[in-house]
Symmetry: C2
Subunit: 402 residues, 2 copies
């Protein structure tokens, strides 16, 4: 099932997106890309792994968590069969169906992406633990797939927690990402309904350097980069989980509100001691450059840890677990009760086993200095299927052994 | 006071933004722009008119409506004096102050825009009718500046209505726009507080064609384009309003929720009859191309209006009033009570007299077919100062005649 046309991190070679038109507009010719697609903004849906995981991060995300209205595994299978070609068309920058000449019916595609290119759209599907219970499929539920435990300082809001199915749409244009989610949900009217959704953004510097979160610190410095690291931490290998998850991965979502006004009153020294990194460079405290390696147990002449032992980096590193962070910022207006910015981080991570995340979060525990400035407001976990081979469909392995 | 270095629609010549870095990354050299600024992503704060009005629309907006905590006109003047150089620095892509070497104080700039270019950031300031009452400045309040009348079908939420001061930050990067608003508000801690804020986006096709709203129809086709049209409809000329408004304009904000699920069940024929335009081309009904002129009173052989008389375009055109539309879409997750998308249009228009908008809205009245698919949820009006000459400050003319 996994003999596929291309391998590895599919998006990685594609590079920055959507600039083709602008470059042409300035009178330049684009170099010809030796690619199966007609433009650099298109990422293939059909691949060994689902897109939107190892794909270089895009500028925008629209994340939807769905509840199922269907009642059988067979209906679920039909749903994913239906969604497969739609997702492939969307990622190709096409409308979900060719426009009809019949003007007396509602358009097949909602149309707001007409004239826009694919904008590096990726669509990633996953299923939550509640799905298996609702459909009496407990024997198919990976033993790793459970609601996350309660962590210290969690103040979760049911309105941003859980879900049976997730659709993560990422693109360099927010309207393209929204259009994808809207049309996938619309195509499944009566089968699913939205439980919650959230949009987010990533500010990607033109030089390709690491994005900063709304606390102005670089986010995602220590991500897996090589195929080896992905195999080690992200992709489920045969025997490591339920068989249908081979080539898949687990997505963890945390809506983390950042108390910007409190943070903004904090000294730079304290901010850096909180993260364990320098703000401007992103280097670990005591180091010069962002990617310079460091040992959190290193002490100074006075016997004190150079990277404070209650700093985020120190505690996270002690867990000795690697995950793929693929976070976005959000700014959703104002918290009406306080007048503060309703803003923060859509923390999204991918790992072959949710325990990797749980170990890190437990290590952060109550003493992470960052806890003074953040509150976890939402939480969800989804098992993301392996990639889809042409002719197959999303989650096929889950259903073929029913 | 209006002898300024450059004239007219400042941003118009600058073109698409932020691609410089990407082009360089692909190995191209940028043409040298004969411009006072170092890169194509920078728009000058100092100009005859405020930026963000005639500036070609950017991809993102962060709009904040503020309440004042200050109690005198003098404090207000000091506030705008303080904001002036900060806004200029932000639009130049700089931090609001040079980083301090003192790590024991909070950073002067919140820092999340470090490494990002100016992204065609524009910042537009305005003052609402309530400001004049709070500060007992009724004699300075333009007689045109009043809360909008109640319109049929309005269902306004106080949480998105009104405000003493507005800051409209538009940029091609959402983090740059958010950073601008955040730092301006932070610099005025204790002087203002947020009343509401809203982020939005615009999907700009690579070929520069008109953006589509979330109903998939092109939005902004009939905007003023020439200096003459701007003078006719947008910029206040001497004698047309209170003297301090000469060179200014009135901003009207309407948060318009779009009922996407209802719209998506409607036939294409009905959708087009609702707008009075064809969806794909944007042409008026019966016409071939978007910019082809049309007469809404034209009838077909059977004596029926070709553009239905209850269509949005038909009714809007009957008012015979031109305004500058500068709208953005928003998608703010889900309406929790219904499970529907909480999405729609941040309608923003600029006109030399709010009556232009009121006349159009009154013409739409109860019979606009579009009313079936939208609900106005928020409303605000602000008098936007003229542009700022170097050495002067925002709203100087308002204060110099106190």
């Amino acid at each position: 099932m996994l003999k596929l046309a291309s391998a590895g991190a599919a998006g990685a070679a594609i590079g920055a997106a959507g600039f083709g038109g602008a470059i042409k507009a300035l009178g330049y010719e684009l170099p010809s890309f030796d690619n199966q697609h007609s433009d650099v903004s298109t990422i293939s849906f059909y691949d060994r792994y689902q897109s939107g995981i190892s794909t270089p991060v895009q500028k925008h995300i629209y994340f939807a968590s769905l509840e199922i209205l269907i009642q059988s595994a067979h209906e679920l299978q039909e749903l994913f069969k239906m969604w497969t070609p739609i997702a492939a068309r969307l990622m190709d920058g096409k409308q979900i169906e060719e426009p009809s000449t019949n003007r007396y019916v509602a358009p097949g595609d909602t149309g707001e992406a007409m004239g826009l290119d694919a904008s590096r759209l990726t669509i990633t599907f996953g299923v939550g633990p509640s799905l298996f219970e609702k459909l009496h499929l407990q024997d198919k539920k990976p033993k790793e797939l459970n609601d996350l435990p309660h962590f210290p300082k969690d103040q979760l809001d049911e309105a941003y927690t859980g879900g049976d199915i997730c659709i993560q749409a990422c693109a360099d244009d927010p309207q393209v990402a929204f259009h994808a989610v809207r049309n996938l949900i619309r195509s499944a009217t009566g089968l699913v309904k939205m439980k919650w959704s959230q949009s987010g953004f990533n500010a990607i510097p033109a030089d390709g350097s690491t994005s900063r979160n709304l606390f102005a610190f670089k986010d995602g410095t220590v991500n897996p980069a090589t195929d080896e690291e992905y195999n080690e931490s992200v992709w489920v290998k045969a025997g490591e989980s339920t068989s249908w998850m081979t080539g898949g991965t687990y997505l963890i979502y945390r809506k983390i509100q950042m108390h910007l006004e409190t943070w903004d009153r904090t000294s730079l020294k304290e901010q850096e001691a909180t993260f364990g990194r320098h703000r401007e460079s992103g280097a670990a405290i005591g180091k010069e450059s962002e990617f310079e390696d460091f040992d959190v147990l290193e002490k100074d002449g006075a016997g004190k840890y150079i990277i404070p032992e209650d700093s985020h980096v120190h505690l996270a590193r002690l867990a000795k677990k690697a995950i793929l962070r693929r976070a976005f910022s959000y700014s959703s207006g104002m918290v009406s009760s306080t007048g503060a910015h309703d803003a923060g981080l859509m923390f999204i991570s991918f790992q072959k086993n949710p325990q990797q995340f749980i170990d890190i979060q437990n290590s952060l525990g109550r003493i992470d200095k960052l806890n003074e400035y953040i509150t976890h407001r939402g939480s969800a976990i989804f098992a993301c299927f392996p990639g889809v081979e042409k002719g197959s469909y999303l989650g096929e392995a889950l259903f073929t052994h029913l």
